[in-house]
């Protein structure tokens, strides 16, 4: 990825690479929520744990999308929490799905560290956290 864009846009708006992140998150929010919706609506009994995790992932993606896309300290906090939960989730579920395949008969977005989605679920929270950190540093320039 290219260097962060320092063009001072209108303050309080997501600019530059942040918008790319929001776009990626939006895609995953839609994908995860619809996938969970379909799974829960059609055959919930087959793998309730996996499907509930899909739903949780969907909610986390939606929160991260909105948190990154909107401005203000409260949304930033939402974005921080969402990205952290997401990273934790993809690492935990990824490890569990490899260690105990029985527990995950149906895959989720986070299975195999997101290998079914070209590992974007693994990369996304890292990029999100880096972006948030950078942004909070830029907001508070060293005295």
């Amino acid at each position: 990825m290219s260097a962060p864009d320092r063009t001072p846009g209108r303050p309080g708006r997501t600019t530059g690479l942040g918008r790319v992140l929001v776009a990626l998150y939006a895609v995953f929010a839609i994908a995860a929520v619809s996938r969970a919706g379909v799974q829960i609506a059609t055959d919930f009994h087959e793998a309730p744990l996996a499907y509930l995790l899909s739903a949780l992932a969907g909610v986390v993606y939606v929160l991260a999308t909105v948190g990154l896309g909107r401005s203000g300290p409260r949304w930033r906090r939402v974005a921080w929490v969402a990205c952290s939960v997401e990273l934790l989730g993809v690492l935990t579920v990824g490890t569990l799905s490899l260690a105990d395949a029985q527990a995950f008969p149906r895959s989720t977005v986070w299975s195999g560290y997101g290998s079914g989605y070209v590992f974007i679920p693994l990369v996304l929270p890292v990029l999100g956290l880096i972006y948030l950190r950078r942004e909070s540093r830029a907001a508070r320039p060293p005295a």
Partner: protein, 120 residues
Amino acid sequence: MSGVLVAITCALCLVLGGWAVVTVARDRRVGRALLTGLAVVELSVLATVVDGVVALATGTRPVELATSVAYLVVAPFILPAGTFWALADRSRPSTLVLAVACFAVLVIAYRAFLLFAVTR
């Protein structure tokens, strides 16, 4: 679902996604030519969706029916939403949003094609 249409849509997505990346790499603004190209992709997407709806209406029943329908419903909105989101902030990297949108459409078109191939 027509494989040719899906292939055309995917190819157009690759071209336009690449074009967006090149635009960012060369530090150019999104021009009229790129927007026209995106409009062409969107037309191709719409044609693919209509093709899918016709297939459903004439009795094709994919095993994953709900997912297939969801793809058809979501597909037309991605490029307009991505374009809007990219242009609302005219900074250099935000043009990459167009590449993300093109990639998403590519994946959706291809996945829809696979789903429509597995019928009851």
